[in-house]
């Protein structure tokens, strides 16, 4: 971008940077406060950002890293279709199509151009994961989808509001294609409120500093973060590091594991992620469009570099990716993509774990890296409909200095679980057990974090049940001689006595009297288990995190307190 050269002192630069971060935070706060659906409120599945007029991130508030930078390709698609020069105050653009820069269909992004005295200053943008965007299943995340058409309504870049007037046609199409459209419109209004706040404050800033100087400040802030990121990358181990991990299956071909391979090359202030060797795109919905792979890369860079670098588009300049076309990390339309979170989480883990041997003090053993998604939908006894979805975490990896943490969200996601008491209010089911899963943490000098056990009984018939698990077939791998974490398991116990083991993914129906037991995976251990401190093993046994049998077999520890 060709900017007019102005003089900006370092103080003003820092003052404006604080204000820009403040604006993004205020937008995010507006989203969290005014959204309706639990997925935003409890799951914090939303984010807000300011952009330059040419689409570089100036500041972003993210509650979950998986949103990092995902708006960049989305905004690029909007600008490509609607040149900035043609935009007017009061315009609002909308998009969700993954093949036009989106992520997956439930993530709808609104864009408000900030135009001051005819001068396009930038964009105020907000993304929300909506509870439903239509398609074949309530919640719009069908595990057995094979085409994007089954996943919901696709919205290419469109003008949702033109000069203050809502596009009535689009509005009606949205309302008629989306379940529980009142909640949907509530969340969309929350996005609009957030974008409006951002646009207003950015315009106010330009009144203080002048549009030209403000644009110059943007440029300098971006350059500064780029410089700092390059410096930090130079301090990491240099070279190429490989890692291979697996997804359980694509939800359609249940016995076929999916290979993810990454080569991370760190060289003189740059970092490159090469996914050559990764499996082709899959029939099921686990494909991730490039924005997701990029978000994972930015998460990895942010986690591996200096936390004090102000996050903006400059941080992303030294990062490059090779995403083979037609692979699971760069699919060709109309591949289904709704369940891409599982893939992104696995990519985040692989990118970081690639450095495990090179930087053992800094990089822990692998976390289970899964966020089990379950959705229940149907009718209550009184005939009213319900949709309930929840995300359940698993164990984190142990490190050189500490045990892993039990049941905690890692890498790209950070959602809360549903309180057992809240679930009873929202749906005709009852949780009858929720506890830590003994012996699921990988053995090691430091033990991996435990997964959890959660058990349900159902109180209505014909409840549509979606299960999207991970780590049912491959363990989180240990570091420095530590053991892997236990794999996930899930079983439906039918009222008539049949049992059905869930092979990582399923869409089925459950009814009154059926029981469901899910167990999430454990994190991996770090270091030789035989060198674990005896007191720590004894405490694990006393606290029922490790059984006496496992203490003996894995740690060589007997109840009497002597090593076997």
């Amino acid at each position: 971008m060709n900017t007019m050269q102005t003089t900006v002192d370092p103080i003003t630069l820092e003052v404006v940077r604080n204000k820009l971060d403040g604006i993004a935070n205020e937008m995010q706060q507006t989203l969290l406060h005014s959204a309706f659906s639990p997925i935003v409120k409890e799951g914090m599945d939303c984010s807000a950002a300011l952009f330059t007029a040419d689409g570089q991130t100036i500041s972003q508030a993210t509650a979950i890293p998986i949103h990092l930078a995902t708006m960049i390709p989305a905004l690029a698609a909007v600008i490509a279709k609607y040149p900035v020069e043609g935009m007017a105050p009061g315009d609002v653009y909308i998009l969700n199509d993954p093949y036009c820069g989106g992520t997956h269909l439930p993530d709808i992004t609104l864009f408000v151009p900030v135009i001051v005295d005819g001068f396009p200053l930038g964009f105020s943008v907000a993304t929300v994961h909506h509870q439903d965007v239509g398609g074949m299943t309530p919640g719009s995340v069908p595990t057995n989808a094979t085409e994007i058409y089954q996943e919901g309504l696709r919205i290419p870049p469109l003008k949702y509001i033109e000069a203050g007037v809502v596009n009535h046609t689009l509005d009606q199409i949205l309302r008629y294609n989306i379940r529980m459209s009142d909640m949907f419109m509530g969340d969309l209004n929350a996005q609009l409120a957030a974008c409006t706040v951002g646009a207003r404050r950015l315009a106010e800033l330009s009144k203080v500093y002048g549009a030209a100087q403000l644009v110059d400040i943007f440029t300098r802030l971006l350059d500064r973060s780029e410089l700092m990121t390059r410096e930090a990358l130079r301090k990491l181990p240099q070279g190429t590091f490989h890692y291979v991990d697996w997804l359980d299956n694509d939800g359609v071909e249940l016995d076929k594991r999916v290979r993810l391979e990454v080569a991370v090359t760190i060289d003189d202030g740059t970092i490159h992620f090469d996914f050559t060797g990764t499996d082709p795109q899959v029939r099921g919905p686990f494909n991730t469009v490039p924005s997701g792979s990029r978000a994972a890369a930015y998460y990895a860079v942010r986690a591996l570099t200096d936390a004090q670098i102000p996050t903006n588009g400059g941080c992303f300049r030294p990062v490059t990716l090779h995403l083979p076309e037609g692979s699971i990390v760069n699919p060709v339309a109309p591949a289904a993509v709704n369940a891409r979170t599982a893939t992104i989480k696995r990519i985040c883990g692989a990118m970081v774990s690639a450095l495990a041997d090179a930087a053992p003090k800094r990089v822990p053993a692998a976390s289970a890296g899964l966020s089990l998604m379950m959705a229940f939908g149907g009718k209550r006894a009184d005939g009213t409909p319900f949709i309930l979805s929840e995300l359940v975490a698993a164990g984190t990896g142990a490190s050189d200095g500490s045990d892993g943490v039990d049941c905690l969200q890692t890498d790209g996601s950070n959602s809360m679980n549903q309180p057992v008491e809240a679930m009873g209010i929202d749906a005709p089911l009852r949780v009858t057990r929720f506890g830590l899963r003994a012996d699921s943490g990988g053995a090691g000098r430091h033990r991996g974090g435990l997964g959890v056990v959660r058990e349900y009984v159902f109180h209505a018939d014909d409840i549509r049940f979606t299960y999207r698990g991970e780590r049912h077939f491959t363990q989180a791998r240990g570091s420095a001689g530590g053991g892997g974490g236990a794999v996930s398991r899930a079983t439906i116990y039918r009222k008539d006595g049949r049992t059905e083991e869930i092979l990582s993914k399923c869409v089925t129906t459950v009814s009154r009297g059926d029981r469901l037991v899910v167990e999430t995976a454990g994190g991996a251990g770090f270091g030789d288990p035989k060198t674990r401190e005896r007191d720590a093993v004894a405490a694990d046994v006393a606290n029922r995190k490790v059984s006496a049998e496992a203490a003996a077999s894995e740690y060589g520890f007997s109840q009497r307190g002597d090593r076997a």
Binding site: P10, Q29, D406, C407, V420, A539
Partner: protein
């Protein structure tokens, strides 16, 4: 003639214990004595044995004794509570350890547990076979054998206290009470807290945590209060010991010990209550209070004279669901360190020089440039009159630090660097204040800033400028505001319970019945501390959310007409939702909790009268050269001694007003007016 009656407020903070004593003639004494962490009540004995005689106060004349204590908070910080056992519904013993599964540091690779497992690790948690349904029905009766076995096992683990949290006990606490009764019978020495009494609202993890903390600190707090009561008695003080609660009201020690969790983080609450009194004394009802200390700043809001209460607070990184005054901490303060990042940018904080070594100008070996050092360079602080002259600041060290750490690396002059540090820290604090205000639906521009803490009044005009605020209040003694807040707080009791019914189908009679039960609970506590029912005012409110929404808004309830009660509540909810969250729809809504708050005024304290307190000093202390943002060079600022200012006096900026516990900067364009009670009211000559 009888001696005038005396009211005493004592606030024990981490570093200092603040004391305020005022008699019916308005004669005021204030003191700061060092706190003793190992024996917090030692400071109180110092007051009784040393200060009262010095101040010629006869203990028999002390009719009020209000106290703010960090004992409950410290027990947690120092992990010195009871050895605790936890009883839960069978199958849910790990809820306290699993928590809500989200993490606070999202980019850290090496993660730490986020839940207070230390309260009761797995070995000290047991299940009981029982189940209550959502409608309060008994699904599975409490299994006596499993209860007996679990309690025996906890006793064998050597527990001193047991917390009980069963699922759905917020709709029916019978099983919890049954279990508690059993423990009391068999093990009368054990402390027991049950969740349906401590926090009768839904979400099992949050309820378990608050109940566990309650049981954890109960015995220690009880011992502490008993010993203090006995100290007061042996000193011959007839007043009842009153304790500050997290919601900003006081209650008698006798009631406080029943609900120890309600004392968490009550220190900041007292400060906000004190700030409210200062604001109201000059007719300001909409206030943003900012307490700027060494390492952080505390921000709170007061709308229409009402404290904003939030449903949960943060203690040692753990979220605890205790209603408390909504005080928000941000990591910028006088000790915040200015540094240059790898990209050559100036940053301020969040690292702080703390009190040791402190800012460079303290001369305790600190080499980093802090906000306080910048204040010295700019001439805003008087090196010879810091902390009441007890500490000599070294301007040369301040200049050296700012020069070497900031000016030279950035190629700026010393003055530009010092101004820059102020500009950056001021914008950080202003953005913090803005975020707190906006997220509560408040536009800061229409509010008045109350500045206190050591550095509050120094930054106030700059913050007001950033936020387009037109008025600032500086309390008479900003350094002991927590102690004076104790004396202006009302006696308050609050009771709430879950009430999960949709508005369109809720029975107004059921609402009334629950409110009556909660009122009776509050009234019982009022009676217990001897408050006459005629002095008590009762307010009713409901937490309401849209169906499907997870966060609720507190809405006042008008019980006068059952026919319109629910409709009114719905309309009020929609109006508040629109105000706080920026939009509203006429979608179905649901009650979450019902709440009753009863308040009673304490004995009023007389307005401070300086003529009663002592001779007036000469106010004017000449001029000093100071440097301000927007000015090219140092300007002469008139310097005043706060103790010498007379009511009605108006001071035009640039000016500096010094007093033992703070320094007030009056920037050009501002007028400082001394009110009758000597509170300073700063206003813009031309409102923004």
């Amino acid at each position: 003639m009888a001696n005038p009656k005396v009211s005493i407020g004592i606030d024990i903070g981490g570093t200092f214990t603040d004391v305020v004593a005022i008699d019916d003639n308005g004669r005021l004494h204030i003191a700061k004595v060092p706190s003793t962490r190992s024996d917090p009540s030692a400071a109180v004995r110092t007051v009784l044995n040393k200060l009262l005689p010095e101040w010629k106060i006869d203990p028999a004349d002390v009719v009020r004794f209000a106290h703010g204590t960090t004992v409950a908070t410290n027990a947690v910080l120092e992990r010195k509570g009871a050895r605790l056992g936890l009883l839960t519904t069978d199958g849910f013993t790990d809820v306290i350890e699993i928590g809500r599964q989200n993490r606070t540091q999202i980019y850290d690779l090496i993660l730490k547990p986020e839940t207070p497992v230390f309260l009761a690790p797995g070995a000290r948690r047991r299940g009981v076979v029982e189940a209550i349904g959502l409608a309060g029905e008994v699904v599975t009766p409490l299994d006596q054998a499993s209860l007996a076995k679990s309690v025996d096992e906890l006793v064998a683990e050597g527990v001193e206290a047991i917390a009980i949290c069963f699922l759905f006990s917020f709709v029916n606490g019978a099983h919890e009470r049954q279990a508690a009764e059993y423990i009391k019978q068999r093990h009368p020495h054990l402390i027991v807290s049950i969740s349906s009494e401590v926090d009768s609202t839904f979400r099992e993890y949050e309820r378990t945590v608050v109940t566990a903390f309650d049981a954890y600190v109960k015995a220690g707090l009880d011992r502490y209060l008993a010993s203090m009561e006995s100290d007061l008695q042996s000193a011959g003080i007839p007043a009842t010991l009153q304790i500050m609660q997290s919601r900003g009201g006081v209650c008698s020690a006798r009631v406080a010990r029943q609900r120890p969790i309600r004392l968490f983080l009550s220190g900041p609450a007292a400060g906000v209550v004190g700030a409210r009194e200062s604001g109201q004394s000059v007719q300001q009802q909409n206030l943003i209070t900012v307490d700027i200390g060494g390492t952080s700043s505390d921000i709170a809001l007061i709308a229409n004279g009402e404290l904003v209460i939030r449903p949960e607070g943060l203690l040692d990184g753990f979220k605890i669901r205790v209603p408390m005054v909504d005080v928000n901490s941000i990591g910028s303060g006088g000790g915040s360190i200015a540094w240059i990042d790898a990209g050559g940018g100036l940053r301020v904080g969040p690292q702080s020089a703390g009190s040791e070594p402190g800012p460079a100008c303290y001369g305790h070996g600190g080499a980093d440039a802090t906000v306080t050092d910048a204040s010295v360079v700019l001439g805003l602080l008087n090196p010879g009159y810091f902390a009441g002259g007890t500490m000599q600041l070294d301007p040369a060290l301040a200049r050296k630090a700012v020069e070497e750490r900031v000016a030279r690396p950035l190629g700026l002059t010393l003055e530009q660097a010092a101004l820059g540090i102020h500009r950056v820290v001021n914008v950080q604090m202003a953005e913090g204040i803005r975020l707190v205000s906006i997220s509560r639906g408040i536009d800061p521009r229409s509010f008045t800033l109350v500045a206190f803490g050591g550095a509050g009044a120094l930054h106030a005009t700059a913050l007001a400028r950033e936020l387009d605020i037109n008025a600032i209040v500086v309390p008479r003694y900003p350094g002991v505001l927590c102690a004076s807040g104790l004396l202006s707080a009302m006696i308050e009791h609050e009771a709430s319970t879950a009430f999960l019914h949709k508005l369109d189908v809720a029975d107004p009679k059921a609402v009334e019945a629950v409110c009556e039960k909660l009122s009776a609970e509050c009234a019982g506590r009022m009676r217990e501390e001897g408050v006459d029912a005629s002095r008590v005012t009762t307010s009713y409110c409901a937490d309401i959310c849209y169906v499907g929404q997870a966060y609720h808004i507190e809405v006042p309830l008008d019980l006068t007409d059952p026919g319109t009660m629910i409709q009114k509540a719905y309309e009020a909810f929609i109006a508040l939702h629109d105000k706080i969250r920026g939009h509203s729809t006429r979608s179905p809504a649901r009650f979450v909790n019902l709440r009753v708050v009863q308040r009673a005024a304490n004995r009023a304290t007389a307005p401070i009268s300086m003529s009663a307190t002592g001779a007036r000093k000469d106010a004017s202390k000449g001029t000093r050269k100071i440097l301000l943002h927007g000015a090219d060079a140092y300007v002469d600022a008139a310097i005043y001694d706060r103790d010498g200012l007379a009511p009605g006096q108006v001071i035009r900026g640039p000016a500096i007003i010094e007093q033992t516990d703070t320094t007030t900067l009056v920037e050009p364009g501002w007028l400082a007016t001394v009110a009758d009670n000597e509170v300073l009211l700063l206003t813009r000559e031309q409102p923004a």
